[in-house]
C-alpha cells in the first residue's frame, strides 16, 4: 500500500495536507480571526461605542448609498452587454469583451486618479465644474464613479459565459410563439440566468462596499461626509485608535463572511459554478 503508484503514500498525503492547511491558516484564517479578536479585545462596550459613533454611522450610510447606486447600474450594464454579446453576432466581439475586463487590470489608485484628472480642480473640466458649482471630486459623485469603475466587469463577466452557453433557442422559441421582446427577457432569459446574476451581484457588492484604493484617491477623507467604511477604518487606524478601527473593520469582515456563505450556497445548491478566476 505504501507506494501505490496511483495515489501518494499515506505519509506524503499527510505532509501535503498539513503544509496546505498551515499555509491557509497563516495567511487567510488568522487574519480573519485577528480582526474579531482585536475588535472585541477592549470589551463589548468599546466595540459598540466605536460602531455607534456618529462618524462611523455616517460612513456606514455612505457605503450603503454608494453600493445602492453602483451595483444596480452595473447590473443594468451587465445584462445589456451580455444580451448584445451573446444573442447577436458581430465583428470585434472579443475586443469588446476584453475592454469590459479592462478595469480589472488597472490599479485601484490609477482608477481614482483618472477621475481626478478629469473632474478635479486641476482637471480638464475642473474650471467649468467649479464655475457651475458642481463638485465631483472630494464628494459623493466621485466616490460613486470610482466604485463603478472598479466593479465594472463583475456582473457582465458572470453573465457572458453563462448566456453564451445557454444559446438563443429558448428566446427564439418564445418570440416565434408571439411573446414580445420584453416578455421574452422577463419570462425566459431572466429565470435562466438568475443564479449567475445573483452570483455576479454578490461579488460586485462585496467589492463596491470594500473598495479602498480608488475611493481613497477621490474622496478627500472628510469625516462624516466623504468617508466610506474602509476609509473610516484607515483614519481610525492612523490615529492609533486600533480598537475602533478593528470594530468598524469587523463589520466589513462580517459582510465578507456573509458573501462567502451565500456564494457557497449558490455553488452547492444550484450547482452554479462561477467562472473560476473571478477576481
Amino acid at each position: 500500500m505504501t507506494n501505490s503508484p496511483l495515489t501518494e503514500s499515506r505519509g506524503a498525503r499527510w505532509a501535503l495536507l498539513t503544509v496546505g492547511i498551515v499555509f491557509l491558516a497563516l495567511f487567510l484564517l488568522l487574519p480573519l480571526v485577528a480582526v474579531f479578536a482585536e475588535a472585541l479585545g477592549q470589551g463589548l462596550g468599546t466595540y459598540l461605542d466605536a460602531i455607534a459613533e456618529p462618524d462611523a454611522l455616517a460612513a456606514i450610510r455612505l457605503t450603503l448609498l454608494v453600493a445602492a447606486i453602483s451595483v444596480p447600474l452595473n447590473v443594468v450594464f451587465g445584462i445589456a452587454a451580455a444580451w448584445s454579446i451573446t444573442k447577436f453576432d458581430f465583428p470585434g466581439k472579443s475586443l469588446v469583451i476584453s475592454l469590459i475586463d479592462l478595469p480589472f487590470s488597472v490599479s485601484p489608485v490609477v482608477a481614482g486618479l483618472i477621475y481626478v484628472l478629469l473632474f478635479g480642480a486641476q482637471g480638464w473640466w475642473g474650471e467649468w465644474l467649479a464655475a457651475h458649482d458642481v463638485q465631483i471630486i472630494f464628494a459623493v459623485p466621485g466616490i460613486v464613479l470610482a466604485t463603478i469603475f472598479v466593479t465594472f466587469p463583475f456582473v457582465a463577466r458572470e453573465l457572458i459565459p453563462l448566456m453564451a452557453e445557454q444559446g438563443r433557442d429558448d428566446e427564439e422559441a418564445a418570440l416565434s410563439l408571439g411573446a414580445s421582446g420584453w416578455q421574452t427577457f422577463r419570462r425566459v432569459t431572466l429565470p435562466n440566468i438568475r443564479w449567475g446574476l445573483l452570483y455576479g451581484v454578490l461579488l460586485c457588492n462585496a467589492r463596491a462596499m470594500g473598495e479602498f484604493g480608488a475611493v481613497s484617491v477621490v474622496s478627500g477623507h472628510i469625516r462624516g461626509k466623504t468617508n466610506t467604511m474602509p476609509l473610516h477604518v484607515e483614519i481610525l487606524y492612523n490615529e492609533y485608535n486600533f480598537a475602533a478601527a478593528f470594530a468598524v473593520a469587523s463589520l466589513l469582515a462580517l459582510l465578507a463572511l456573509v458573501t462567502l456563505v451565500l456564494k457557497s450556497v449558490l455553488e452547492w445548491r444550484y450547482d452554479y459554478q462561477g467562472k473560476g478566476n473571478g477576481h
Binding site: 447577436f88 458581430f90 462596499m209 481613497s216 459582510l255 462567502l260
Partner: protein, 294 residues
C-alpha cells in the same frame, strides 16, 4: 466567437438583422443593448483612461522620463514588481498544493476550506491590511514568534510580500482547480502501469497538463499584486526608496498636488498592466487550444 478578425466595433445604431451580422435573428434589442453598453463603457472606462495618456503626452518626452523614471519611482517599481513576482511564485507553489488537496483528497472541513480560499475576493483590502499588520508586527501573534529569530516582516519589504500572498492565492487555486478536476485518471493509470513512480507521473504527466492553468493563475496573481494598494500600505512601512510601492507613490504625489508626477507614474503602471493583460490573453488562448486538442 465570430471567427472573423477583430475589427473596431460597428456603429451602435447599425440594424441587427443585416446579414453583415452573421445569421439572421428574430431576437430584438441589439441596437439599444449594444449601443447603450458601448456608450457606458466609453464614458466610464475608455474616456477617463485615454485622458491619462493625453495628459502624459502633454508632459513632453524628456519631462515624462525624468519624473516617470526618477530614482524614487524606479525603487517603487522594483518593489511593486519584485514583491508581486515573489508572492505570485510562492502562491503558484502553495496554490497548486491547495488546489490538489481540494480536488484529490477527502478530509473533514474540505468544503469549509474551499470556501475560505475565496476570502481575499470578499474581504475589503483595507481590513486585510490592518489584520495582517496586527498579526505580523513584532508584537503580533505571528510576529512575536518570528522576532526572537531576528525575522522582521511588518514594515519591511517582506511585509509587502505577505500582503500580496493573501491577495493572490485565490487566483492560482481557482485557475488550477477546474483543470485538475477535469484531468482524466486514465493517463495517470497508464503512466503507473508503464512503471512510472508517483513523482514521475506528477512531473511528466500531470504537471504538463495543468501548466497553462498554473501560469494563468500566476500571471493573474502577479498582475493584481503589482497594482495592489489597500492591503499593502498598512504593513509596508512606506519608506521612500525602501518600502514604498508604486501606487502609494502616486497617492503621495497627488497629496502634494504634483499632478504631473502622479500622471507619469500612473502611465508607466498602466502600460505595464496592459502588457500583462496581453500576455495573460495569449496564455489563455494557448490554454484553450491545449484543452481542445487534449
Amino acid at each position: 466567437m465570430t471567427g472573423r478578425a477583430a475589427t473596431a466595433p460597428l456603429p451602435a445604431a447599425a440594424p441587427a438583422r443585416r446579414p453583415l451580422f452573421g445569421k439572421r435573428t428574430i431576437i430584438p434589442g441589439f441596437g439599444i443593448t449594444f449601443g447603450g453598453s458601448l456608450l457606458w463603457l466609453c464614458l466610464i472606462v475608455l474616456l477617463p483612461l485615454s485622458a491619462i495618456f493625453l495628459r502624459a503626452a502633454g508632459l513632453g518626452w524628456e519631462h515624462f522620463v525624468a519624473i516617470g523614471f526618477s530614482a524614487r519611482a524606479m525603487a517603487a517599481y522594483r518593489l511593486s514588481f519584485g514583491a508581486a513576482l515573489a508572492a505570485a511564485a510562492i502562491n503558484a507553489v502553495f496554490g497548486l498544493l491547495i488546489a490538489w488537496m481540494l480536488v484529490r483528497y477527502d478530509f473533514p472541513g474540505r468544503r469549509l476550506i474551499g470556501a475560505l480560499v475565496d476570502l481575499p475576493f470578499a474581504l475589503p483590502t483595507a481590513v486585510a491590511g490592518i489584520a495582517l499588520t496586527a498579526l505580523y508586527s513584532p508584537n503580533g501573534w505571528v510576529g512575536a514568534l518570528l522576532a526572537p529569530l531576528g525575522i522582521k516582516v511588518a514594515f519591511t519589504p517582506a511585509g509587502v510580500v505577505v500582503a500580496l500572498l493573501f491577495i493572490g492565492l485565490p487566483f492560482v487555486v481557482r485557475s488550477v482547480e477546474p483543470v485538475l478536476a477535469d484531468l482524466g485518471r486514465d493517463v495517470e493509470e497508464a503512466a503507473a502501469t508503464l512503471g512510472a513512480s508517483r513523482a514521475q507521473t506528477f512531473r511528466r504527466v500531470i504537471l504538463p497538463a495543468i501548466l497553462p492553468a498554473l501560469i494563468t493563475g500566476f500571471a493573474l496573481a502577479f498582475a493584481r499584486g503589482v497594482g495592489e494598494y489597500g492591503s499593502v500600505i498598512f504593513i509596508a512601512g512606506n519608506m521612500p526608496y525602501r518600502s514604498e510601492i508604486a501606487p502609494l507613490l502616486i497617492v503621495t504625489q497627488l497629496e502634494q498636488y504634483d499632478y504631473a508626477g502622479a500622471t507619469a507614474i500612473a502611465t508607466v503602471m498602466l502600460v505595464a498592466a496592459f502588457a500583462m493583460l496581453l500576455v495573460i490573453n495569449v496564455i489563455q488562448a494557448w490554454n484553450r487550444r491545449r484543452s481542445e486538442t487534449a
